[in-house]
Symmetry: C2
């Protein structure tokens, strides 16, 4: 691409350094900002630098947070006996969007992946074990750890590791239910999901049971 | 989407205000920046605010430029007798990328579109006419105006308007060639292009003519 302006080129390079944004899109975004007032660009830049400068990880659950303790951990109305263990903040948001879960979280920050050099030490597993062990410190007794982790090789390894570490602890460890999705047609479900959902069948209960 | 952090939310809103970026993509970009150093975000923001604060329109051709006169207009080696009239800076870049044109440009900043309230007054047509009329001021005699404008209803209107305004001027007005693209198969060309390319046929010349 042939830029007649160094300033435009620098802005395009900046946008194109973001994942999934190519140079054509970067140029479109740059020209969009040129078409708006300078204040619009200032506000845009301010929101991003401000976020990056002030964002921190919650000291309890490692979720991204504005304060040393995140909104979820600080919320006294939430059920402090449940801790849902997830890979990333994206998973926290997905679960929060369902409005079905009122417990706390623990964000691992990744999954055990020896091929990429990510061992348990790189994740927040020690922090989770410490959280379970020092119950008094987190005001409230953790009774159940819910593993909401993808059943990939890395996910299975991570779940296996955490479960093994918690074997002698009094908390129970559960995993989210997997099977054919609600409203999903059997013929369109993938073979592994359908096969496992038959093996892991549950007793059928009437709604008014 | 349920954000546990106001800072993340503000950054996502900022990205999502750009065209073609939804909230999911905005979150991905935000989390990408969280994973990088604060300096990366500062530099990203700096490139954009710096660009927006300092960018200006060339006083001669209205192209975006770092200086009052853009690189193309300032380049003494370019052919100052040719002026290519285009809709936007994107078209300038597309033509520059071909390396086939060594003349100057004139960026209209849009096309005449009465439905959206864009008349000739909103565009830089007066500036173009002035450029042609006051030849001395632009050091060099403009001999030809090349219209490189899309043949849409708005484009045709704009070309018609400019041509009519330049009727009594000594400059000749041309339009870029249109037809079946080089290397294009006839059967895949659209009907309008193919039809017009037959009507507007040109004498066949051997290469060594």
């Amino acid at each position: 691409m042939n830029f007649s302006s160094k300033l435009i080129e620098q802005s395009v390079e900046a946008f194109a350094s973001l994942p999934g944004i190519g140079r054509k899109t970067a140029l479109r975004l740059t020209l969009h900002l040129v078409g708006k007032s300078p204040e619009t660009s200032e506000q845009f830049a301010e929101a991003i630098t401000n976020m990056r400068r002030r964002i921190q990880h919650c000291t309890i659950c490692h979720n991204l947070s504005d304060e040393p303790i995140c909104q979820v951990c600080a919320d006294k109305r939430r059920d402090r006996s449940l801790v849902c263990v997830v890979e990333s903040i994206r998973d926290v948001m997905a679960i929060e969007d369902t409005s079905q879960y009122r417990g706390l979280y623990h964000v691992l920050g990744g999954l055990i992946n020896p091929l990429e050099g990510i061992g348990p030490g790189e994740l927040t597993i020690d922090s989770l074990l410490h959280r379970v062990a020092s119950q008094k410190a987190t005001d409230g007794e953790i009774r159940e750890i819910i593993l909401a982790i993808s059943p990939t090789i890395e996910g299975d390894t991570t779940m296996f590791y955490i479960t093994k570490k918690l074997k002698d602890s009094p908390v129970s460890v559960s995993s989210i239910a997997r099977g054919v999705s609600f409203g999903g047609e059997l013929e369109y479900a993938d073979e592994v999901t359908l096969g496992r959902s038959i093996v892991a069948r549950v007793p059928y209960r009437l709604n008014n049971d």
